[in-house]
């Protein structure tokens, strides 16, 4: 794949990968910080066990090193589109619950949401460089979220952030793998 790249495409891919790796790293750091804030603000136990978040593919995957670049990018794109929708809902729920009382948590959530959006944009760019079409968001998007109780909303938020932190790690590794000359 890379062998057929033009020099400008290779530079562009390397640049996108580099930027995406750093963005993933920053996103992870911010999510870790946000997790602490979130647990404290929501009155949750940091050691609480949370089930699988519906609509989000698991970051952990078997035979990771056997995946192709496109496959990695597509899995990442699905995951981050899902995170974008979940974080947007969390932000809305957060505003409904706390109003402007805790603007800090809201700002932190909004910042992470922006990073997720930016990372999704990176992935789309990379997919375009791979000459692959970008899957439509509507068709692959997560189903409408069921109506949950307040506590369940809090737990789901905790689960989203934990999974996002793991995906940030995986995404960085995926992009490093993509940026390696083949």
């Amino acid at each position: 794949m890379a062998a057929t790249d033009s020099p400008s495409t290779a530079v562009r891919r390397r640049d996108l990968c580099s930027r995406g790796i750093r963005l993933a790293g920053k996103m992870r750091a911010d999510v870790i910080d946000l997790l602490d804030t979130y647990v404290e603000q929501q009155g949750l136990d940091a050691s609480a066990t949370v089930g699988v978040v519906e609509g989000v593919p698991l970051a952990a995957v078997e035979r990771w090193d056997e995946q192709t670049g496109t496959q990695r990018l597509l899995e990442n794109l699905v995951a981050y589109r899902a995170f974008r929708a979940l974080l947007a809902q969390m932000l809305e729920e957060q505003r409904e619950q706390l109003g402007e009382a805790d603007a800090g948590l809201g700002r932190a959530l909004a910042a992470v949401l922006l990073q997720v959006s930016a990372f999704a944009y990176h992935l789309e760019e990379l997919l375009q460089l791979e000459s692959r079409g970008i899957p439509s968001e509507e068709g692959d998007g997560p189903p409408p979220l069921p109506r949950l109780s307040l506590f369940e909303q809090k737990l789901r938020g905790l689960g989203v952030l934990r999974e996002l932190a793991q995906w940030a790690v995986r995404s960085a590794r995926d992009l490093r793998q993509l940026s390696k000359p083949s």
């Binding site: 790293g25 920053k26 996103m27 750091a29 910042a111």
Partner: protein, 918 residues
């Protein structure tokens, strides 16, 4: 009549239309309006406005479009710009909107020349915005997690309109809120920054005339970050004395960016920074050990950071932090030197050892003490002498000899290498050659040529030369391989004495000295010159040298400037070593002004002026004149004496004739009635019989006093009374001559006036002698005891008439002697007396007879005074003045026959107690 009323009605209608509230609810219903309404126009474009009149106004007010006038701010627009489109519409066109002003009004002029405003608009003229240029952005880290992006741009020309600028930025899939600058139009700060995504940033400028956009700037904000400088920097010393360790905190997460660093440091107090090589700090870290530092030295550190890949901006330098390296043993021994004082005893030296404190980078710590060891090299058996000193000098009393002095400095870590100074018994080695100096900015360079032998090092001594204090020596040691050093701390315009000693392994060379200035100036004062000796054509000038403080430089020469008052100035240049100079070729007896100027390389100063006058005669000239004259005079005198000696008999015959003794004369024998009270003094006696050649006798009648006023005579009345009683005490000489008068010996208190008059009495009478036996007549002045006051000239002038009257009586005598010349009465008595001496021989004959008959040297005047006592006293002064009428000329004109004289006059002169021939 109808027309006038119709115009009035029309105007009233217009007023109502303009001013009355509109039925439809508006405040004003105007008779027309302008299109466009308050336009915004581009500067320099053309513009047309229409004024449309309402039909209602046409019907009632008879106003039409041809009556419309346009005004710009009360200035009528030229009618050439109008156009009547129809009867209700008028247009005005402006080719250039720059000539527009606000408001633009449409006005109507009715037939009565009443001008009414119909409508007005506000015209706004401006420019469309230019495309913003030079857009640039920087992301500032505000806190650990806060970043703001500030973008700046060039807004372009001024538009004269309200122009809105917006900073816009977006991702491909997301558009962020615009950033609208507040208060400025060329920058805006965005607070919501997301890294790692390329963001398109641009600026939009818009106003009523248009809109413009800058070129977009696509940048990942992470690439334009200016991070905060590292925080909490601390410095700690390590085990090694040359290492300090810095630690700090980075306030930017590694997840955001990795950093590289710059570390700079300097010795505290220095201004120049040193920097740790950038490749040593190009990786992320939070500490660094700076090596290669000086022991026991305080350093200040500062650090900054930026994105590791070098894209972005360096942070500001962090706050300085200081740290001190640990001590180390002194790196070298202190430089040592000595001053030997052998003035007390040649055999016993007082050696002043002195050394310089080590510089901090040499001491490597706090010097606790110095160890001085003295070894007598001339005596191997003598023990070492050790001294522990805390100061930087030590004085020893040593016998004259050769010594080796060793000095060690100690701090808490250890001892320095020893400094060794050899003190030889004599400085017998070769000195340096060609010692010279050269100012270099604020330093004085001293250079020399090394001797042929190997020199260990040189000692350079210098001191400030002063006229009023000793030279305080400073010194410095230079290594043996250098041939010049810079002396620091040298003051300008001061004279320094610099001496260089070469130190050899086995001895010391003698010192070579030179005087030098770092910077010269003109002298602060000029020399004061004065003369040591002044002659006719030369003058020796002397002056004192200026003190070294006054010189301000090397005196290159003195210049003497001298001139006469009106002459040109002469300039003489004198060697500066001189203190004396002889000016020659001067003009005699002339006033000269001289001044003196001292010159250095940088200027001159003139001293005060000094004046002197050359002498009229040169040395020996007076002697050359006087001595010959004296010798000639002496020679003449000698010759005269010799001549006189040879002719002594002849001279004696003429000068010292044998004078017969009157007492032994026959006359004395026949003149027993000589009054005893008349003491003929020797003066009288010294004139022998017949020596008088002429005697003037004034004969005054008692009636003469009538010619004087009573007032004039009053004092004389008193005197007269006294005289009658004190006559016997008065001199026998008074009144004997024309200049004499009887002495007034009275001293009563009543004689105040008289006393005053006597203040001008003639105290001398003149006895005029004719030549004796053909000898030159001799004027003899003898003292008169008369206190007869002289009459002043006024009295004399008043008395002339009376005097003339009395003269008639006196002519009995005078006419016999030649008459009286009244024209000559003002001549002085003395003068006349001399004239008398010019009498001819014929007079002598008669006088001899008179003397013989009158006895002599007692003048006839005395006899006259006694004989004519009353008249004479009242005319004492007249005796003088009128006696002056006796003129030799008249005598000459009327020579008396010799035979007639005695017979005629003798009885008159001797009457009333005069001498009467027996």
């Amino acid at each position: 009549m109808f027309s006038r009323w119709s115009w009035v009605a029309c105007g009233f209608y217009l007023m109502l239309n303009i001013c009355s509230p509109d039925a439809s609810g508006g405040l004003v219903q105007s008779c027309g309006h302008i299109i466009p309404e308050s336009p915004v126009l581009a500067l320099g474009s053309n513009f047309t406005a229409l004024c449309i009149l309402n039909e209602s106004c046409l019907d009632f007010g008879n106003i039409y479009a041809n009556q419309i006038i346009w005004k710009i701010k009360n200035r009528v627009v030229p009618k050439e710009q109008y156009r009547e489109i129809n009867r209700t519409v008028s247009s005005v066109t402006f080719n250039d909107t720059s000539s527009l002003a606000t408001p633009l009004t449409c006005n109507i002029v009715a037939d009565g020349q009443i001008e009414q405003n119909i409508y007005g608009i506000t015209v706004t003229v401006g420019l469309a915005p230019e495309k913003p240029k030079n857009l640039s952005c920087i992301v500032h880290q505000i806190s650990r997690f806060t970043y703001v992006m500030t973008c700046t741009w060039n807004p372009g020309r001024h538009t004269f309109l309200d122009t809105e600028f917006r900073l816009r930025y977006s991702w491909p899939e997301e558009v962020f809120p615009d950033c609208i600058p507040k208060g400025v139009n060329n920058s805006c700060t965005v607070t919501d920054i997301q890294f790692f995504v390329n963001t398109e940033i641009w600026v939009e400028a818009a106003n009523a005339l248009g809109k413009a956009e800058s070129d977009p700037l696509v940048v990942d904000p992470i690439d334009i970050v200016k991070p905060l400088s590292p925080q909490n920097v601390s410095v700690s010393s390590g085990i090694l004395p040359t290492v300090l360790k810095l630690t700090w905190e980075n306030w930017i997460s590694d997840a955001v960016m990795t950093l590289k660093f710059n570390i700079r440091y300097r010795v505290t107090g220095d201004t120049s920074w040193m920097e740790v090589p950038s490749e040593d700090t190009a990786s992320p870290r939070t500490s660094f050990s700076v090596q290669g530092l000086r022991p026991y030295t305080e350093y200040a550190f500062s650090i900054r950071c930026m994105k590791e890949d070098g894209v972005g901006y360096w942070s500001d330098w962090s706050e300085e932090k200081t740290g001190i390296t640990t001590e180390d043993e002194p790196s070298k021994g202190p430089p040592i030197w000595r001053i030997i004082d052998a003035s007390h005893s040649p055999a016993l030296w007082t050696v002043h050892l002195m050394w310089k404190a080590l510089k901090p980078f040499e001491a490597n710590g706090v010097i606790l003490q110095y160890e001085v060891t003295v070894r007598d090299k001339s005596s191997l058996a003598s023990p070492l002498k050790k001294y522990n000193v805390t100061s930087t000098n030590h004085t020893l009393q040593l016998p004259k000899g050769t010594y080796e002095v060793t000095l060690i400095a100690r701090n808490s870590v250890g001892a320095s290498p020893p400094s060794v100074l050899l003190i030889p018994e004599s400085n017998s080695k070769a000195p340096v050659k060609n010692l010279r100096t050269l100012p270099k900015h604020d330093k004085l360079w001293v250079g020399w040529t090394a001797p042929n032998s190997y020199v260990l090092k040189y000692v350079i001594e210098w001191c400030l030369v002063s006229s009023n204090s000793d030279c305080t020596i400073e010194w410095q040691i230079a290594l043996g391989d250098v041939q010049g050093i810079d002396l620091k701390g040298i003051k300008p315009f001061k004279c320094y004495l610099i001496t260089v000693y070469p130190l050899y392994a086995d001895g010391q060379g003698s010192g070579e000295s030179v005087k030098a200035y770092l910077k010269q100036d003109r002298p602060s004062k000029g020399p004061t010159v004065q003369t040591k000796k002044v002659g006719k054509a030369e003058a020796v000038l002397t002056w004192n040298h200026l003190t070294v403080e006054e010189q301000n430089g090397f005196i290159r020469n003195y210049t003497i400037l001298y001139k006469t008052i009106d002459g040109n100035e002469t300039v003489v240049t004198v060697d500066p070593s001189k203190t004396e100079y002889t000016l020659s070729s001067l003009t005699s007896d002339t006033l000269y002004t001289v001044r003196m100027m001292a010159s250095t390389d940088n200027g001159s100063r003139t001293g005060p002026d000094f004046t002197f006058t050359t002498q009229k005669f040169g040395k020996g000239e007076i002697e050359a004149i006087v001595v010959p004259v004296c010798l000639a005079f002496l020679l003449i005198v000698l010759l005269g004496v010799l001549f006189c000696f040879n002719k002594r008999d002849l001279i004696k015959k003429h000068i010292w004739p044998i004078v017969p003794d009157p007492s032994k004369s026959n006359i004395a024998q026949w003149s027993p009635q000589v009054p005893a009270k008349h003491n003929f003094n020797s003066k009288n006696q010294m004139y022998p019989e017949g020596s008088f050649t002429d005697v003037s006798v004034v004969e005054i009648e008692a009636d003469d006093k009538k010619s004087f006023s009573e007032q004039d005579l009053k004092p004389f009345d008193l005197l007269k009374k006294e005289k009658s009683t004190s006559e016997g005490h008065s001199s026998g000489i008074g009144g004997s001559s024309c200049m004499s008068s009887p002495r007034q010996s009275v001293s009563d208190s009543d004689e105040g006036e008289t006393t005053q008059n006597t203040s001008s009495t003639v105290q001398y009478s003149t006895v005029v002698l004719n030549g004796y036996r053909d000898q030159t007549p001799v004027q003899v002045f003898s003292r008169s005891e008369s206190t007869q006051p002289l009459l002043d000239s006024e009295e004399r002038s008043e008395d002339h008439a009376g005097g003339a009257d009395s003269a008639a009586q006196r002519q009995q005598y005078f006419r016999q002697n030649g008459g009286q010349d009244e024209n000559n009465i003002d001549r002085s008595c003395f003068e006349r007396a001399k004239q008398i001496t010019h009498g001819n021989e014929g007079d002598l004959v008669g006088f001899v007879q008179l003397q013989v008959s009158g006895q002599s040297s007692q003048p006839l005047g005395l006899g006259m005074a006694k004989n004519t006592q009353e008249a004479a006293l009242s005319n004492i002064s007249q005796t003088c003045t009128e006696g002056q009428t006796v003129r030799p000329e008249t005598v000459e004109e009327n020579p008396l026959p010799v035979d007639d004289m005695p017979k005629s006059y003798l009885p008159q002169t001797v009457r009333q107690g005069g001498y009467m021939p027996q």
